[in-house]
């Protein structure tokens, strides 16, 4: 009898829940894509460098310290806490740790999507389907950058707001706390207030413009806005965010802000999600709640406007859609197939209720870190988590280190972060990925130089550029080759380095 009871207890611990299997699968997938995540985006180097600076100096810089073009200019450190986290994990565990942390945050975000979907729909299979589709759609933006914290917090934020709407959550205090963390982690904290405004306006319409009935929602907005000012730059963080988004030139020159290109198969899961949402709206027999309508509509528009919003679309829209999809299935009870599906679903739910779960996900997370720290390569290509020599000027940087060129260097924009990671504080860059800080004027000057537009040589002269590092085969490289004033110092399949020789 006793043995039987121990066996049952063991069963409850050892058998994983569906959500746990989903979490582990996503975690493993993100770990497998580690080198890809690090190398698609050029900013990781900058985040690590800034994080290290904050750790070492105990100071959050509010003016530029990384470029020679903008030294001393006021800077809004809207990602300082993320940078600090990246810096800490890097110091402790290297790039493997950065990938591990990213995997944890992304898998956590999608697990929340699954959990809230399950809470709202009571159908784990539909929640799982939504989660898988969401993972496929958002995988394009699985990157080692502070944006992941926004995805994570947005997932929690909307789940808790929905609980408030349904009356499951009574206290609203969690929201200002989340916002305080969010505003210091990433500049897209504004997304949280957008989600709140969808709920607030939607609730007002639902309840016939009654502020009294929505007092809690009002307080969430007021307190969240007020705590959003608790950051190193106060209200300046709002100005920076809207200033950047309001600048058409910068937005259209930042790849991640471009709209999704549905000719690329990578965007098809997102397209499929849009059509699922259309199908669900079409088949739904009851009116969709206004907060849900605003969320689905608003995030669809924003994701179609900028591909970087697709992960936010995923974490905000999927729980609401699964809830509506469940409603359609329940209404469609005349079908034998649906009856059988619901029976099967109920059996799964009963089994899951008797399982505690959690053990395997903890083992997976800890074991992965141990293996990575032990030097075992867990990525799909078995390359290890390092900056790729084909993407970044890894070998050229070695050469720069040996030859120590003097003076200001002009660099390829996506390599700015990597060069900072390698050489700061000895060397500063011309420009890097923080476009919102460098602004339109410098970005235009940069563009003039690389496209050899009229006056490009003057700009190089004005900034006293003594050397140039550009990708192999670039137009600028060809022009410098034809010029007597410049001499090639180094080249490999990734990068070329040129030196200014006139007058020497």
């Amino acid at each position: 009898m006793k043995n039987n009871s121990i066996f049952q207890k063991l069963q409850t611990i050892l058998i994983p829940r569906l959500g746990e299997i989903f979490f582990i699968a996503i975690f493993a997938a993100v770990i497998g894509l580690g080198p890809r995540m690090m190398n698609i985006d050029g900013d990781l180097g900058r985040h690590i460098t800034l994080g290290n600076y904050i750790l070492d100096s105990r100071d959050i810089p509010t003016e530029d310290i990384f470029s020679f073009t903008k030294t001393g200019d006021p800077l809004t450190p809207h990602e300082w806490l993320s940078d600090l986290i990246f810096g800490m994990i890097y110091k402790a565990t290297g790039l493997n740790g950065v990938v591990w942390l990213t995997a944890l945050v992304i898998a956590g975000s999608l697990w929340f999507v699954y959990k809230y979907s399950l809470n709202l729909s009571n159908m784990s299979l539909i929640a799982l389907f939504g989660g898988i589709l969401g993972a496929a759609a958002s995988s394009l933006h699985w990157l080692t950058r502070p944006h992941i914290f926004t995805i994570f917090l947005a997932a929690i934020w909307i789940g808790e707001l929905e609980k408030m709407r349904l009356g499951i959550r009574k206290s609203w205090l969690i929201f200002p706390i989340l916002m305080l963390i969010w505003v210091n982690l990433h500049g897209a904290f504004i997304a949280g207030l957008f989600i709140w405004s969808c709920y607030f306006v939607g609730m007002l319409i639902e309840q016939k413009i009654s502020i009294h009935k929505n007092q809690s929602f009002l307080w969430i907005g007021i307190t969240s806005f007020l705590v959003s000012l608790i950051n190193p730059d106060g209200f300046g963080i709002w100005k920076t965010g809207f200033g950047f988004l309001g600048n058409q030139y910068l937005v259209s020159h930042t790849i991640e802000y471009l709209p999704p290109d549905f000719q690329q198969p990578a965007f098809w899961p997102f397209l499929l999600l849009i059509f699922c949402s259309m199908l669900i709206l079409g088949l739904c027999k009851k009116r969709i709640a206004f907060p849900h309508l605003f969320i689905v509509g608003g995030w669809t528009v924003m994701a179609l406007y900028s591909a970087r919003n697709i992960p936010l679309y995923v974490v905000t829209v999927i729980p609401l859609l699964t809830s509506e999809a469940c409603g359609i299935l329940c209404d469609w009870n005349e079908s034998i197939l649906v009856d059988r599906f619901i029976d099967f679903q109920e059996k799964i739910a009963m089994t899951e209720e008797s399982i505690k779960g959690g053990l395997w996900s903890m083992i997976a997370v800890v074991l992965t870190l141990v293996l990575l720290l032990g030097g075992i390569k867990l990525d799909f290509q078995r390359n290890g988590n390092k900056f790729s020599e084909e993407v970044f000027p890894v070998e050229a940087s070695e050469w720069l280190e040996d030859n120590q060129p003097v003076g200001n260097g002009f660099n390829y924009f996506p390599w700015g972060g990597y060069l900072l990671y390698r050489f700061w504080p000895e060397r500063k860059v011309f420009i890097d990925g923080q476009t919102d800080f460098y602004g339109e004027e410098l970005t235009r000057e940069y563009e003039k130089i690389i496209t050899l537009a009229d006056g490009w040589q003057d700009i190089l002269r004005n900034y006293h550029i003594q050397w140039v590092i550009m990708p192999a085969g670039s137009m600028l490289g060809s022009a410098l080759e034809d010029s007597n004033a410049w001499k090639e110092g180094y080249n490999d399949k990734t990068a070329e380095i040129w030196f200014y020789t006139e007058g020497q």
């Binding site: 471009l258 709209p259 549905f262 000719q263 259309m278 088949l283 969709i288 469609w332």
Partner: protein, 497 residues
């Protein structure tokens, strides 16, 4: 009694506004090679189907699926010059929107407003090209299907057959009609699966008849000079992988550009309205709407068909939502009811004579607007100025008078213009993507790229003359590799080996 009743006045105003919108300077980059092909067909009394315009595909067979449109275009141009083409595009746009209007059954003011919205969305594809015929035929076909669903009279489906015969000769876009009919059938199946019933739902027997007409449509498109090859056309065109890199209209929409945003708002609007309704949508509306939303999100050239499919649904659901809200508002807010009563009363109090005068003034004013726009946008100076903004007008004039002949490497978008204006210089590429395929288009992109190995690539095609935009990488690179600039202005540069 007013001469023009309200239910006719609103659509007349809307259609005249659409005509004003659609009458434009005919300047599409593909227009010119269509005109030239039409001219060749008439000149030789044989459908133009072997390439003579380019040196890269010279002598190759070409399935000229738009031959009849080209003949119509050339005859229109011959008869009315730019004015003719401009009026022809405007008329097609108005016809397409008129058949959409007929599919709406709500208040005329609402229908007209939605029609204008749909017109703005589809206006992206109103250009002097054969695809404007596809838009009209698509709209007419959807009207016939709408009538069939409403009346269950198979006579309407018989009307689809001549449409497909005409379509198979006017434009390869006939496949849109097949897809539309196919999606209606899938939608009807969805109705059966989800037990969605409405007066417009089809029985199994009616679905069978409908399916027979889809097959019939698919078969009758073979009545054309190219026979079975016509079935290959959609696959040939979509199969060109380089398409979206060269032609912007085949690319996914870029909603950062204001002129593309109306499609986004219409899609958002129609699905929001469906979400706000308290019933399931007819599957035969939902599936075509989803399919053409997909098409529009994949390639912006499908904005037109999307708008034609979405507009009647938009109108229906908007009317439902407005009705519900007005009911609630009347109950909650007394002034709403008073305001509506007062408006109705004021309207009834107007004397018929005054109404006639007012209507005539409005319509007359719009007709003057149409006339003014036709004249204004087709004035020689205006057209020339517009042409100079996008085509190498002066470079072509210079080249024509210089006597320099031979193969010319050209900007993709200028191929048609050169075919029409420079008859002694075969082009490298033009808008006939199905003719050139990935092979030539990839070579074109390779030559144009900053990393191009120019001498080798240009030697391969024995190219001694390059006419491209003056601010391109290739223009800068050739100047650095010893080629000589023969002519240059702010738009174009002509470089000779």
């Amino acid at each position: 009694m007013p001469w023009i009743k309200e239910e006719k006045l609103y659509p007349i105003i809307a259609l005249l506004l659409i005509l004003i919108m659609a009458v434009r300077t005919p300047l599409d980059t593909d227009m010119w090679w269509h005109l030239r092909a039409g001219e060749e067909t008439l000149l030789n009394q044989e459908v133009y189907s072997v390439d003579t315009f380019s040196f890269t595909r010279e002598g190759s067979a070409w399935i000229n699926h738009s031959w009849l449109s080209q003949v119509v275009m050339f005859l229109t141009f011959k008869a009315g010059n730019y004015y003719g083409l401009s009026i022809w595009v405007g008329t097609c746009a108005v016809l397409a929107m008129f058949f959409v209007y007929l599919q709406m059954k709500e208040h005329p003011l609402l229908r007209s407003a939605v029609l204008l919205f749909a017109a703005v969305v589809s206006s992206v594809v109103w250009s002097p090209r054969p695809q404007i015929h596809s838009l009209v035929l698509f709209s007419l076909l959807s009207y016939l299907i709408f009538q069939y669903k409403r009346t269950k009279n198979s006579g309407y489906l018989i009307g689809s057959l001549p449409i497909f015969i005409l379509w198979g000769n006017l434009h390869g876009g006939y496949v849109l009609g097949i897809i539309f009919m196919g999606s209606v059938i899938v939608g009807e199946l969805l109705n059966k699966i989800f037990f969605i019933e409405s007066s417009e739902s089809l029985s199994w027997r009616q679905m069978g008849i409908f399916a027979i007409f889809i097959m019939g449509g698919f078969l009758v498109v073979l009545i054309n000079p190219f026979g079975l090859d016509m079935w290959r056309i959609p696959f040939n065109t979509v199969g060109v992988e380089t398409l979206q890199n060269v032609i912007s209209e085949w690319a996914s929409p870029d909603f950062h550009q204001a002129f593309q945003q109306p499609m986004l708002w219409m899609m958002l609007g129609v699905f929001s309205l469906i979400g706000l309704s308290q019933k399931s949508i007819d599957g035969a509306e939902l599936i075509p709407l989803i399919v053409f939303s997909w098409a529009a999100l994949t390639a912006r050239r499908n904005f037109g068909p999307f708008a034609l499919v979405a507009a009647p649904i938009f109108s229906r659901y908007l009317a439902g939502v407005i009705e519900n809200w007005l009911d609630v508002a009347k109950q909650k807010l007394q002034w709403v009811e008073k305001f509506l009563d007062k408006t109705n009363q004021n309207n009834q109090e107007l004397k018929p004579g005054f109404k006639n005068l007012l209507n005539c003034v409005i319509i007359g004013f719009l007709l003057v607007g149409v006339g003014w726009k036709i004249v204004k946008v087709n004035e020689r100076e205006f057209v020339l100025q517009a042409e100079r903004g996008i085509f190498p007008v002066d470079a072509v004039e210079w080249l024509g008078s210089s006597g320099i002949t031979g193969n010319i490497f050209n900007d993709y978008n200028w191929g048609g213009y050169l075919i029409w204006n420079l008859r002694d210089n075969p082009v490298f590429v033009d808008g006939r993507t199905d003719l050139f395929g990935d092979e030539i288009l990839n070579d074109y992109l390779s030559i144009m790229s900053p990393q191009s190995n120019l001498p080798e690539n240009l030697d391969e095609y024995q190219i001694n003359l390059v006419l491209v935009k003056s601010d391109t990488d290739i223009a800068r690179a050739l100047q650095n590799t010893g080629w000589k600039i023969e002519y240059q202005d702010s738009i174009s540069v002509l470089i000779e080996r």
